[in-house]
Assembly symmetry: C2
Homo-oligomer: 200 residues x 2
Amino acid sequence: MAAALDFYFDFSSPYGYIGSHKIEALAAKHGRAVSWRATLLGAAFKVTGGKPLPEMPLKGDYAKRDFQRSAAFHGVPFRMPSQFPVSTVAAARAFWWLHDRDPRAAVALAKALYRGYFADDVDISSAENVVRIAASAGCDAEQARAALADQAVKDRTKAQVDASIAKGVFGSPYVIVDGEPFWGVDRFDQLDRWLATGGW
Amino acid sequence: MAAALDFYFDFSSPYGYIGSHKIEALAAKHGRAVSWRATLLGAAFKVTGGKPLPEMPLKGDYAKRDFQRSAAFHGVPFRMPSQFPVSTVAAARAFWWLHDRDPRAAVALAKALYRGYFADDVDISSAENVVRIAASAGCDAEQARAALADQAVKDRTKAQVDASIAKGVFGSPYVIVDGEPFWGVDRFDQLDRWLATGGW
């Protein structure tokens, strides 16, 4: 079977959220699996000099409008979170903790965290809210709570973030397949053609 | 007739160049005209804190690949210029000078300048190269040369750049229609739907 698509995302990224609704159907269309990889854009911004969109004059106002319009365009439920952006360290740690036990469950957790933040306005920077969402997704709450405080889980998450930056990931969503990088939901059309033709 | 699409672009923008190949057919499909508006992204970057893509670690390398792939995806001839980005002040002045005499001729000049820079690797930061391209597009070379040194043309161009920033334009291409903003060739699909439905 052909290699999986590496799907990098940050839990505070509206476009990552929209992409999370579309990536599996796109991959399946071409007989590919998806490897979900939570990352932390803040760490990448330290390398690129980037910053969160809302902090940028002109671009920030445009972005808020574009989040809503892009979600509507792609048919994805979206409600602008009261707090945006937020730290997604706890969410990423929960993801990688669960990933190492059950990758499929980690994908379900990722979708639940995204839904919590971008549809239900739950502040996922709160570790306790992450635990609550993990519990609703089938995890043991006590184990999840302990995992978020576990140094090994912190180290594992940091290693994944460092690895994503080493791969060149500076935005969300970011897909790498067979060495070819695609940044943004708005490159999914190019990704689709690339998967169909094997080149460009 | 419905209002024209305002199509903002910088002559050093690969995505503006790609957009220049697509905007007229898209507008015509919906019975709209296009109002071409050269601007200078450097002035907008001073407001947003943005900078040219090649200067950004990680993102710069991605961008160079994305320029080529996006041009191929959209079927637009593209050759990465030897010098990139370059100052497009002379090109913008030539555009606005001609625009005030013959808007249709200014569109033809815009296409010739874009082709010179992104297909034929002509350095359009050079006023003399701009004059040469203007002459090949049917302008009188002496008049074009004089125009580039004319304070009134400089002021006219600066006023247009300031007006674009006042409208929120921070990137290229940038389309505004009936008050709705669309940044990037990758929003032309949303623009297409918006023109069809009048909303989102």
